[in-house]
């Protein structure tokens, strides 16, 4: 779909397909969010710019931006926004749309962690912390994984000593009681959300 600049097409899409997206039109471009974000300097685009780009119809650029993935959910922007925009939620909503549309930046660490976390979680209904951290260590290949694990060795041993990490979890670990019920629930939720947000 080609979008003419400064028409409402993409804004309308954001309103329909992004959580809290209907707030974007209420931004008054004051820039307080951009100035308040503790990680602002590391973003490709500030929230202010993201909102302006949505109005300008820059769909590709918005959805492929790494900005939404850099949000740490500190909520500083929401607290300060004079127009009370739920900026953090919009950012996460945009990230989700970007991912579902296949436009999210590749090899973005936050995105990778998110995927690992999700895949880990839905298997048993509980996060297997050992597998999750090992997954993170080895995401960039085996030798890097060994290096990472060695570097974190003392932390891991300490946690084991303090009984905060069970090495036996490597066998599969424990899960929720009704695993299939849990997975059915997730499937239904996704079905509903996909219908509502027009996600294939």
């Amino acid at each position: 779909m080609s979008i003419e600049k400064y028409t409402r097409n993409f804004l309308k899409e954001v309103e329909e397909r992004v959580e809290e997206g209907h707030w974007v039109k209420m931004c008054m471009q004051c820039g307080v969010c951009a100035g308040s974000c503790p990680l602002g300097a590391h973003w490709e685009h500030t929230p202010q710019k993201i909102f302006m780009m949505i109005r300008a119809g820059k769909r590709e650029e918005v959805l492929s931006s790494d900005s939404m993935w850099m949000c740490t959910s500190c909520y500083q922007c929401i607290v300060r926004c004079p127009r009370k925009l739920p900026i953090t939620h919009i950012m996460h909503g945009l990230a989700y749309l970007a991912k579902r549309e296949g436009l999210a930046p590749k090899n973005q660490p936050t995105a990778q962690f998110g995927q690992l976390f999700w895949d880990n979680l839905i298997k048993t209904g509980r996060v297997n912390e050992l597998k999750l951290s090992l997954g993170m260590y080895f995401k960039d290949g085996f030798s890097q994984g060994i290096k990472n694990a060695m570097a974190m060795q003392s932390v891991g041993m300490g946690m084991m000593k303090a009984k905060r990490l069970n090495p036996m979890e490597i066998m599969g670990g424990h899960g929720v009681k009704d695993k299939s019920g849990f997975q059915a629930m997730l499937k239904k939720a996704r079905e509903l959300e996909d219908g509502r947000r027009k996600l294939a």
Partner: protein
């Protein structure tokens, strides 16, 4: 009038009795002040003290009262005797509150107090009780020029207050600019949607109002007189002229949209689809709630771009340099014309800053809710191709040059130009600028005066010496004291309201007109009893000229900030007392000193400064005269005293009505009497002036710039006479300034004129 009998009263309250030797002060009043009655009192402003003075006036034939107590700004009711002349020696705020209470300061503090007693006695002897102006006139009708929202509001408000109104409108019908609107921006909660203009209701109310007489198709072709007795010729289109007598005038002549033809780069004139805000209102009116069609071919409008600040806030000097403060509201409203009809129409407002006065922020939010897109950007050009336009602009958030293609309509927000008539100071302003090296104004002025040039048309056609219209300050808007008296023009009894005064929207214009109506009523009531308008409200004095001494130099007629003084056929000044604001600028201007007020004259101040006891050059006690503006500097000093700020004991402060009233003879007299320095404290001047009499402080600083020659002639250092700007908020700054100046003067050798 009976023989003068001066009585001096010295208060011992508020610590005066403990800090000062009041018996000594009484002796000064008696021996040096030559007061016939001298009394001390422990608490002068209480009922008993006031009764004592009252009794002396009634039974002892006292005609002149000198009260040595607190500042003249305090206890004005207690000491406000209306049947005798009263002067005040400021011993509390002027002496004990600004001096340290210690043994070392006792002597100088007492000397300060004694001087103020001498000054009070000297002043009161030169004062007369104002007899009141016999030339009062009592016409209480109000003339309103302009029948738009502002004019109609002013007329209705004045009528509601019980005053008769004459309403003159140039056009064929009342309503003005608002009558051309389809809807107006909201004035009521929730400020979400455009609302009806209400013009029809106002017109109906006016035609049903027997107090309001309406002339349409008419102009004011001649205005003469003064508050309470204006005579106005009203010329009608038919050729007939009617003369109406009125007491005061409200000019509500509104604005014209800045000419979009001057903006060809924004496509105006090149495509029928580029309109100004007025053009869009016409389209909306024609559509009357239905879809607004594309002007070029009547096609469907799918996309509209609003260009804010078109020809406004221009820094290149080509277009309007200012913001009109109302066009953002209008663009939001006009975008809603489209959105309310069809939400799918793209409406983009390209702005650099949105300015939403009053409750406009709610309206802005409502616009966003309705889907109007707001884009921070600066439009560089509009290209018209076929039936659509391409709007090129710099996106100021994304910082890139970009464009909106295929806009069916482009609306230019061109802003307001005041319909204020002739700029009576144009020549003077141009000459001043040319003298400073910038001749553009002068060239423009000369071009405007050339034969065949389109000359501005006067609105009021005043027969005043200083020109046919009320003076303008900047950008053609009428001049008024922006902070203190916003509706008061520089022509007493003539008030301006609405966009002719400054750019504004309907809500503000309505408020403005109501305020101006109240002021116009106050003006006729004041004129009827010969009272001054503010800031000297209630003053019954007026300038009296000893015409046989006049040299026809015309300085008073030229310099009067309020155009109060005309000229007769022999070029003598003709004072119109009711137009006078009692600032005394004429008195300060007069080189032969023939202008005075009964209670304020060259003598009342001159005798005060001469009454001060100037110690000889060996005593190391310099004397510094401070002439302080009574509107800002003097109250600031009083407040500094309330905060117990300490300042030098060498200064003697005399309040003046305005620095404009300072006659250079006072400076020469002071220096001749052996003062070591003269300090003048007046209000800020320039385009953002705070002078309560508009031009007074400016004229004073101009006159004092010429004092250097006098000083040189006397062999004195130029820094002995200095003018400082002071605001009423300078409570901490002024004492510091005085002390610095005092140190500076003390470092100079003593004045060689002491002891003569």
């Amino acid at each position: 009038m009976a023989d003068m009998k001066v009585a001096a009263y010295i208060c011992q309250g508020c610590g005066l009795g403990e800090r000062l030797d009041t018996a000594g002060l009484a002796k000064v009043a008696q021996k040096e002040g030559k007061a016939a009655v001298v009394k001390e009192h422990p608490f002068l402003c209480n009922a008993e003290g006031v009764a004592m003075i009252r009794n002396d006036i009634d039974n002892e034939a006292v005609t002149h009262v000198m009260v040595a107590a607190c500042s003249r700004r305090a206890k004005t009711e207690a000491f406000g005797f209306t049947d005798v002349a009263v002067s005040r020696a400021n011993l509390r705020e002027g002496v004990i509150w600004v001096r340290p209470d210690d043994e070392a300061s006792r002597e100088t503090t007492q000397e300060m107090a004694a001087d103020y007693v001498r000054m009070g006695c000297a002043e009161v002897k030169k004062m007369k009780l104002p007899a009141g102006n016999a030339a009062t006139a009592t016409n209480r009708r109000v003339l309103v020029v302009g029948g738009g929202i502002s004019g109609m509001t002013a007329a209705l408000e004045a009528s509601k207050a019980g005053y008769q109104v004459v309403l003159v409108e140039k056009g064929a019908a009342l309503g003005g600019w608002a009558a051309k609107l389809y809807k107006r921006s909201p004035s009521r909660s929730p400020y979400a949607d455009p609302q009806d203009t209400g013009v029809d209701e106002m017109i109906a109310a006016i035609s049903a109002d027997s107090n309001i007489k309406v002339y349409t198709n008419s102009i004011t072709s001649k205005t003469e007189g003064a508050p309470g007795r204006f005579k106005v010729d009203i010329s009608q289109e038919s050729g007939a002229t009617v003369t109406e007598e009125v007491g005061s005038i409200i000019q509500a002549t509104g604005f014209t949209l800045y000419d979009a033809n001057k903006l060809p780069e924004l496509g105006y004139g090149k495509s029928a689809n580029v309109v100004d805000q007025g053009g869009l209102e016409a389209l909306a009116k024609a559509a009357n709630g239905g879809p607004i069609k594309r002007p070029s071919d009547g096609g469907e409008v799918k996309s509209v771009v609003f260009v804010q600040c078109a020809g406004q806030r221009d820094e290149t000097g080509t277009h309007l340099p200012y913001c009109s403060g109302s066009c953002c509201l209008t663009s939001v409203k006009q975008a809603m014309y489209f959105k309310d009809n069809n939400p799918d129409i793209d409406t983009v407002v390209v702005y650099t800053d949105l300015r939403m006065p009053g409750n406009g922020e709610d309206f802005y939010r409502s616009g966003q809710n309705k889907g109007v897109t707001f884009t921070k950007g600066k439009v560089s050009s509009v290209e018209a191709t076929g039936n659509t336009c391409k709007v090129n602009f710099q996106d100021l958030i994304l910082n890139e040059q970009t464009a909106i293609e295929n806009a069916d309509l482009v609306v230019l927000a061109t802003g307001q130009v005041a319909n204020s008539g002739v700029d009576v100071d144009a020549k003077l302003k141009a000459e001043i600028a040319a003298a400073a090296g910038d001749s553009t104004l002068l060239d423009a002025y000369n071009a405007s005066q050339a034969e065949g040039a389109v000359k501005p048309i006067s609105v009021l056609n005043l027969t005043y010496r200083q020109g046919p219209d009320v003076p303008q300050l900047k950008y053609g808007f009428t001049d008024s004291h922006f902070i203190c008296f916003p509706y008061e023009t520089r022509r007493t009894g003539i008030y301006s309201a609405g966009p002719v005064r400054r750019p504004m929207d309907i809500v503000q214009a309505t408020e403005d007109a109501t305020g101006a109506a109240m002021k116009a009523i106050q003006a006729v009531e004041n004129a009827a009893v010969g009272r001054a308008a503010h800031p000297r409200s209630g003053d019954l004095s007026y300038p009296i000229v000893r015409i046989e001494g006049c040299t026809q130099c015309k300085r008073c007629t030229v310099e009067c900030p309020f155009g109060a003084i005309d000229e007769d056929e022999k070029r003598y000044p003709v004072f119109n007392e009711s137009r006078c604001r009692r600032c005394g600028t004429c008195m300060g201007a007069c080189p032969v000193r023939v202008i005075s007020f009964e209670n304020y004259s060259v003598d009342t101040v001159g005798s005060q400064l001469k009454a001060v006891d100037v110690p000889d050059e060996f005593s190391e006690k310099p004397r510094i005269l401070i002439l302080a503006c009574e509107n800002d500097a003097y109250p600031a000093l009083d407040m500094a005293a309330m905060n117990r700020e300490v300042y030098s004991a060498w200064v003697r402060v005399i309040p003046v009505r305005c620095l404009g009233s300072v006659n250079t003879i006072w400076i020469t007299d002071a220096l001749n009497s052996g003062y070591d320095g003269v300090m003048m404290l007046g209000c800020k001047h320039g385009d953002d002036y705070q002078c309560h009499f508009v031009k007074g402080s400016e004229l004073a600083s101009y006159r004092m710039s010429k004092v250097g020659d006098t000083l040189q002639g006397m062999g004195l250092e130029p820094e002995r006479v200095q003018v400082f700007e002071a605001a009423i908020t300078d409570i901490e700054r002024l004492p510091k300034l005085i002390n610095e100046y005092s140190d500076q003067i003390a470092a100079l050798p003593p004045s060689p004129f002491k002891g003569f």
